[in-house]
């Protein structure tokens, strides 16, 4: 009778009716700041790119890491600094409002063309002023032509690799078959050791670097040619961020001078004091710690393009000592701490991770961002790590449900009941937070890959669903995204694809209609599958050798124990003692498994259809063949805890696992299978015709390790069990797996609903699944928002390891979300 909408939906309805948000009064400052930029189209700010380019022009020939440090110093000294009205924390990389930065070192070769398209793009559009567009076209882009990583990579791929990677000779458009992703970001999602900065400050790191320079052997070639410039770069980059911070102190004092409101004046003077202190010196209190962290991550965002933004790490752990001490000293209470953190959140919300390339844009729709704040989990000693701050983060998400920052809750077998219940309550709120990462899967896996227990227990969630050990991880490249549904299409067309006509893309595995047995078909599939794997691994080999020639990150290296120890930039392919955790991506897992299942069952076992009939129906996009389509859909599907489909899923997973196991060594890394598509299952679907699971041509593939749209019919418990069944637990060669589940609010109603959600989460933990996230929403709300986007501007939905405004998504992705099965109960 009651509760048919989530609290998030209720607040949207309130807003439509013109009611004030129920939490506005208790969070006045941040709501006010939010209103200054909420819903604005992001603007491109060119300053970072301009100063970076200016400096790089001056330093050609020097060691790359040193050049990068000098460029950052040039940026720090010249870029406009801002103090946001009302905010207590400062540090932004661009103009007021929502803004994005340019990284011409990545895509300078086609930046001038792209800049014309960006405002009109369907997926994640950006605006740029006329003057700034001129700067890009005349000052920035010309320098980078012929120098970018992207061009070098395009030239370096062997022909057979290029053929499955790009649509055009210049490598500007992806084929979405075996898609490299190393060229639209300098680093994959990453986490810094913020605790180090809070404890030692960049002043401390600078001192360490200077001492190391002193201790170098003055006669050693390595010490002088390799290590010395690296350490000099560290010194310069430490100076750069300190300079940048102090410029904020100066500005804050100027503003204070002009300020007439005594309250704001005092705030500005306090901010000036804080910015003079951190991040150079250790933080002494909670405010300094928050500001120091923010300067660090914000400057890191200017250093390089970390894929969908550098993460926040274990915030409830490294901020806790400052919080506790301040509370005990009586200089901070819960509300003040919350306000400071939320000042940080609105800062994060204004930085938009801009993807210039169309491929990058399609990968990360809705202005994707994964600045994951990790909460909960275990201490390095393996004890439960939950503390008062943990609960404060959850509270903030319920009361100020901005979709920044991304919140990730670590779950382990002894997570306290209060914590899991609070997590469940927050999920029920309905804005998609937090996502859950499972210690019981991540920790043993990382130990098996060479980490110590201490390091593994201390992992931080990074990006979408990944986990990082900030002082042990050393692999920074994006991996291949592989469209295995295209591999199936190639089996059905003897190595060709519908979209590409007569072009022989894959192997000639023979006329499919002549396969007499399932084994024959499966063998052909494996051949195409392995061709894709081979292509992906060849890509990665080239990538690994090429990247360090184009990317450096002195600041990231300054914060990394192993880089400092060995005097090597973090982008160096092999860093002694480092663990290289890379991945390749399986696209369309559910789509593929269900299609294979349909062929196996209906063609080779029940003989209700022939392969020729299926191919004809698929090629014609089931036009006039709805009966064939419906029949295909009666086959067992992944996501129903059905051993028939799940065993096929496990065998497919095994192909990936064993290939990685065999050939990763040659790449000097763990190149392991991952199931995390961001939003790319939509563009990957656009290159594949209709499939034997009844999916129509050019529509989205299934996402991550989730079931195909609507194929999971036996409820959410089965979805988890299928996920478990399809894993090869006997091998370590696997990385993250993303799993989306959609519930209706009704299903989680009341205290009983919370208890059942807790039990569901506990079982997820028992099953040793990697990740799960929830949308708790009514389908009617999504449909209403699609119809009337203006009214539903604030509707937040869970996409793929991040939450975004529903109205910011392309129609394709909106439909994809609507089509996901919503679990109710009878």
């Amino acid at each position: 009778m009651s509760c048919c909408v989530s609290p998030h939906e209720q607040r949207l309805l309130d807003k439509i009716e013109g009611k004030e948000d129920i939490y506005r009064a208790s969070h006045p400052r941040v709501f006010k700041i939010l209103e200054t930029f909420d819903g604005l189209r992001p603007i491109i700010d060119v300053e970072r790119a301009r100063y970076f380019t200016q400096s790089m022009m001056e330093t050609e020939g020097e060691m790359l890491c040193l050049r990068w440090a000098k460029a950052l110093k040039h940026i720090a000294e010249n870029i406009t600094v801002y103090i946001d009205e009302d905010n207590l924390v400062c540090g932004r990389g661009g103009v007021k409002g929502r803004y994005g930065l340019l990284y011409p070192e990545l895509d300078g070769d086609f930046l001038d063309i792209a800049i014309k398209d960006l405002p009109n793009r369907t997926e994640s559009p950006f605006s740029i002023s006329k003057e700034d567009a001129r700067i890009v076209v005349e000052e920035i882009a010309p320098y980078w032509k012929g120098k970018t990583y992207h061009e070098a990579l395009n030239a370096a791929f062997p022909e057979e690799v290029h053929k499955l990677s790009y649509d055009d000779p210049e490598g500007l458009t992806s084929r979405f078959i075996v898609n490299e992703t190393s060229s639209f970001r300098s680093s994959i999602q990453w986490v810094h050791d913020y605790e180090k900065i809070l404890k030692r400050g960049f002043g401390g790191i600078k001192k360490e670097a200077l001492e190391k320079i002193e201790a170098l052997d003055p006669l050693s070639p390595i010490d002088n040619v390799e290590k010395k410039p690296f350490l000099q770069a560290i010194v310069i980059v430490c100076d750069a961020i300190i300079t940048w911070a102090r410029r904020h102190a100066v500005l804050a004092r100027e503003e204070a001078e002009k300020e007439t409101d005594p309250v704001r004046k005092a705030e500005l003077l306090k901010m000036a004091d804080v910015c003079e202190r951190v991040p150079e010196h250790p933080a002494r209190n909670f405010h300094e710690a928050v500001q120091s962290q923010w300067f660090t991550q914000m400057f890191s965002r200017m250093e390089q393009k970390t894929g969908t933004i550098v993460s926040n790490g274990r915030m409830d752990q490294y901020l806790y000592p400052y919080y506790k001490a301040d509370v005990e000293a009586g200089i901070l209470d819960e509300d003040q701490a919350l306000e400071l953190l939320e000042c940080l959140w609105v800062g994060m919300a204004q930085f938009i991770d801009l993807y210039v390339s169309p491929t990058g844009g399609a990968f990360n729709e809705g202005y994707a961002h994964w600045e994951a704040v990790t909460i909960g989990g275990q201490t390095p000693e393996g004890r439960d790590a939950t503390n008062e701050l943990t609960y404060l983060f959850l509270k903030s998400k319920r009361e100020f449900p901005l979709h920044y920052p991304d919140l990730a809750a670590r779950i382990h077998s002894r997570s306290p009941e209060r914590y899991v219940a609070d997590v469940a309550e927050t999920i029920k709120d309905g804005s998609g937070f937090p996502k859950l990462i499972n210690d019981e899967e991540v920790v043993p896996l990382y130990v098996s890959k060479g980490a110590t227990f201490e390091e593994a227990y201390d992992y931080a969630v990074s990006g979408c669903t990944e986990a990082r050990m900030p002082n042990r991880d050393t692999y920074t490249s994006g991996g291949a995204y592989i469209n295995f549904v295209a591999a199936l299409e190639m089996v059905l067309h003897n190595g060709k694809m519908l979209k590409h006509g007569d072009e022989q893309l894959g192997l000639e595995t023979g006329n499919p209609c002549e396969f007499k047995t399932w084994d024959a078909f499966w063998t052909a599939y494996q051949q195409q599958h392995k061709l894709f794997l081979k292509t992906a691994f060849h890509q990665q080999y080239v990538i690994n050798n090429l990247r360090a020639k184009h990317f450096a990150q002195p600041m990231g290296s300054a914060m990394h124990d192993l880089c400092m120890k060995h005097c090597l930039d973090l982008h160096t392919p092999q860093i002694p003692e480092g663990i290289n955790l890379g991945y390749f991506e399986h696209m369309g897992f559910g789509t593929l498994v269900d299609s294979l299942s349909a062929i196996k069952k209906l063609v080779f076992e029940e003989e209700k259809l022939t392969l020729a009939e299926i191919i004809e129906a698929c090629d014609g996009n089931f036009e006039g063949k709805e009966d064939v389509r419906q029949l295909l859909m009666t086959a067992p599907c992944y996501g129903n805890d059905d051993p028939y489909a799940d065993e096929i899923a496990r065998q497919v997973d095994e192909l990936n696992v064993l290939f990685g196991q065999k050939y990763s060594k040659e790449l000097g890394m763990h190149n392991d299978i991952r199931y995390v598509p961001f939003t790319s299952h939509v563009p990957f679907g656009k290159v594949v015709g209709a499939t034997p699971n009844g999916r129509f041509a050019w529509t989205a593939l299934s996402d991550g390790s989730s079931a195909s749209h609507g194929a999971d019919k036996t409820g959410p418990t089965s979805v988890l069990l299928s996920n478990c069944n399809s894993k090869n637990y006997g091998h370590r060669d696997r990385a993250a797996r993303m799993l989306n589940i959609k519930f209706t609010p009704k299903c989680l109603e009341g205290e009983e609903g919370t208890e059942k959600m807790v039990a569901f989460i506990r079982t997820f933990c028992d099953l040793k699944l990697w990740h799960v996230q929830f949308n708790v929403i009514n389908k009617s709300t999504l449909l209403a928002a699609q119809k009337d986007p203006e009214k539903y501007r604030n509707l937040i939905v869970r996409i793929a390891g991040y939450s975004a405004y529903f109205v910011d998504l392309s129609p394709d992705l909106q439909n994809d979300l609507i089509a996901r099965t919503g679990h109710d109960s009878i």
Partner: protein, 307 residues
Amino acid sequence: MTNKEIQNTTGTVFNIQKYSVHDGPGIRTVVFLKGCPLSCMWCSNPESQSFKPQLAYNSNKCISLAECVRCAEVCTAGALIQGEGDKIHVNWDTCTNCLCCADSCPSGALITYGDKQAVRDVIDQVEKDAAFYARSGGGMTLGGGEPLAQPEFALALLKEAKRRYIKTAVETCGHVSTEALLEACKYLNMMMFDIKSMDSEKHKEFTQVGNERILENLKAVRQAFPKLHIRVRTPVIPGFNDTTEDIQAIVDFLKAYDVEYELLPYHRLGTQKYTNLGLGYPLGDTSLENDAFLPLLEIAGQIGFSK
């Protein structure tokens, strides 16, 4: 009976519903047994009433005769004819319920409700979610229809579940053999027992049976199993038992027993299924308003458990 005999016992099941969160504690799987001694006018599972497998037709799922005539090709009784919108129409008068058409239908427009299943296979399905039962205190619920109207099968299911350490519950209308009911209680963690009205005549008018046996059975169960967790439930149906007097009478009766009590508000979710079975909806157009329901909740609260 030996374990093997128990496992081989068969009965008619029309649905196995996983992740059921409103039919007893925790996360549960409900096994719906087909056939019921009552014919309640508001029944939301009309497909559960007959003991036999039966055909149902959902025209929304029918593809269109232009693309598919598989069903008509197998129908020997000539019961499938062209209907509106180029879709099949079932002539229920001529249909012999041979069920061949359901086997041939690719889209699930024509389906069979109910099939014979062995205890082993049913419990295998139920046991799949054991990891969730362990964490939530859930388990298996037998529902229906009236599960104890297939007493041998229901008992075998309960015994086999117990043997595999699966917690059990049953949802019963109470109008069953006392012997079977008491035997079932030996293997139950919880019983959900419907009492629909204290007025036997009205009971008969709306359900086709009086309430005497039902009330006697509750008494018998409580006497023989004083500690069994019992939740009595009353579906609140407009025009039948939605007055405060109706509910007060039930509450007064229940005060002598140590039971939980829950009111289930009337809903119309089952109406489509009547159409699919070629039946009319007996209760017609009616609805339960909050104003009528909320005072009843308060009365129900007198015995400690309300919802």
